[in-house]
Amino acid sequence: MSTRSLPALIAVVLAVGVLAQEGPELGIEATPEEVAEWDIGIEPDGEGLPPGSGTALEGEPVYTLYCFSCHGVEGEGLLNDVLVGGHGTLDGPAPRKTVGSFWPYATTVFDYIRRTMPYQEPQSLSDDQVYALTAYLLFLNGIIGKDEEMDAETLPEVRMPNRDNFILAWPPQDNE
């Protein structure tokens, strides 16, 4: 080793010392109960769906009470987002993206309603109510029947009409 490369080597070692960061290990282990309480998410395969169930029939009065004021009669939109219709419009000049015409997964409907709706009081409804509201929106969109029961088994099985029309841009394709 020549004397001239020594400082360079030291510089490299120092740089690595700065970059290879290590934490002080201050994380506190969470118990399975704590994790269960914190984990409010539903995965598209249904993981995370809680016990309970509901039908569109049961969902209708819940919708009228908690959702109608912003989303209108039968999800047709009022102050806020339209939740029904738009089927067959996505390839036209005036696409209407709704839960029914656009969303790829029924599990996302449950997840979203439970995490943040009704807008003024998120996470205030029971899981049965959320199943019933999910069923009601799917029924209004012609995706399930009025008596069909939605639960942890049946909801992930629901095939959304637009499901096959999504292209994953990640990971980036080399051949593009």
Binding site: E22, G23, I28, A30, W38, L79, K97, V99, N162, N165
Partner: protein, 423 residues
């Protein structure tokens, strides 16, 4: 003195664009002349009021001049709400590369939570060896890094180029969902390593502690590469609007993924397909199919001055100033045209030119008083060049709403009024 300046300026492209280095020389000369004049002017009795007595007291936290109170974000919220919407940074009123914290753009889905940092914790769980909680005190002891980087909502500039007819509004109202700050925080990879990530995991799901419990999936590669758990913005603790006390920061990726008020990270095998990455922040193509997970923000630039609302008062020498940025890295070059794109001159890039940061560009321009169209186009170090509006629409249609980065053209009319045009 003025004659000398005229001699110094060399045309670099059509319709009055001038050599950039000489402009700096010229302006220094003007400055010199001005200060010489002051030495003999203004007898003592004509002192302005603020020189006749001591000013206001020292203060614990600064405020801007009342004369600047009109520089405001433009706010737009969903009907019936005051917290589901956005506020646009007034780009036309700002200079340099850093956005002042109170003017950083906002995009929230259920208002701004007021979080008590002593009660806030981050949970990392899912496909890890051990699920871990981190409180804010603990996080402050971890190694931190600081980076100056932009964040941009992928819906930014939609209004500037995708409506059927051009909307005439300020530069900030059209392009202001981008801001640039120095972000300081803990690399996420350190905490993920501590939890012990299962090699079969491919993604994380990040969730906020706002009323929307906003959540997005992020590829593990990004989480392990340069994802930051940001605690500080421009040196001070994050503002509540920017995620106080803790936000995720994903350099170069669409802003919606940089979850604010971060409470939970779940390590998963596959993306969680949240509402925010399916119903929203996905790109509808002309044929009705939709692209999911279009993360990087493409190279973009815009002239902030002159721009709509900043009229040119008379023909003469002006400085064109603008900003350029790219999610792919550094800005390599910005070109400016003052003749509707017929000829282009290279603008001066203001140092420092940083990775995924806003870069300020400047160019001297002598406006001859005639109507014309000015525009800028940027190229990044990855070799990508900002496309024209026509090229984007030919490739992607007009239904996609996100990730629009077309060249912005401003029309300057004979009176010096500036407006948005499609050119």
């Amino acid at each position: 003195m003025p004659e000398r300046i005229l001699e110094d300026l060399e045309p670099v492209a059509g319709n009055g664009l001038l050599h950039r280095r000489l402009f700096l020389k010229g302006s220094a000369a003007v400055l010199g002349a001005g200060s010489l004049g002051l030495m003999t002017a203004a007898p003592a009795k004509e002192l302005p009021p603020w020189m006749r007595g001591p000013g206001r007291p020292l203060s614990g936290y600064g405020t801007r001049s009342p004369y600047e109170a009109g520089v405001q974000r433009q706010v737009l919220a969903a009907t019936g709400t005051d917290g589901a919407g956005g506020s646009w940074t007034p780009l036309e009123a700002l200079e340099g590369m850093i956005t002042p914290n109170p003017l950083h753009f906002e995009r929230h889905h259920s208002g701004i939570p007021e979080i008590d940092p002593h009660r806030h914790r981050l949970l990392i769980h899912g496909m890890v060896d051990r699920a871990l909680f981190f409180d804010m005190d603990a996080l402050s002891r971890y190694p931190m890094v600081s980076r100056i980087q932009f964040i941009e909502c992928s819906g930014n500039s939609y209004l500037a180029g995708l409506p059927a007819r051009p909307i005439n509004d300020t530069c900030g109202a059209l392009h202001g969902l981008v801001s640039c700050s120095e972000w300081t925080g803990v690399p996420l990879s350190i905490l993920l390593d501590e939890a012990g990530v299962d090699p079969a995991a491919g993604w994380i799901m990040a969730e906020g502690a706002d009323a929307a419990a906003m959540n997005r999936s992020v590829p593990m590669a990004k989480a392990m590469d340069d994802a930051l758990l940001a605690l500080y913005q421009n040196g001070e603790r994050l503002r509540p609007e920017q995620g106080y006390p803790l936000r995720l920061f994903l350099p170069g990726y669409e802003g919606n993924m940089s979850i604010k008020w971060l409470r939970r990270i779940k390590v998963t095998a596959a993306p969680s397909m949240t509402r925010e990455e399916t119903s929203k922040y996905s790109d509808l193509l002309p044929d009705g199919r939709t692209l999911l997970f279009t993360y990087p923000m493409d190279v973009k630039s815009v002239i902030t001055s002159p721009s709509p609302g900043l009229e040119l008062k008379e023909p003469g020498l002006y400085q064109i100033s603008g900003m350029a940025w790219s999610g792919a890295g550094r800005i390599a070059r910005v070109e400016v045209s003052a003749d509707g794109g017929a000829t282009w001159g290279e603008a001066a890039l203001c140092e420092p030119v940083l990775d995924k940061a806003v870069t300020r560009f400047r160019m001297a321009w002598r406006w001859n008083g005639a109507e014309t169209v000015i525009m800028s186009r940027a190229a990044d170090e990855a070799g990508e060049m900002q496309p024209t509006r026509d090229a984007i629409i030919a490739a992607k249609g007009t239904k996609f709403a996100y990730h629009y980065n077309g060249i912005q053209a401003w029309r300057v009319d004979g009176k010096g009024q500036v407006s948005n045009v499609y050119a």
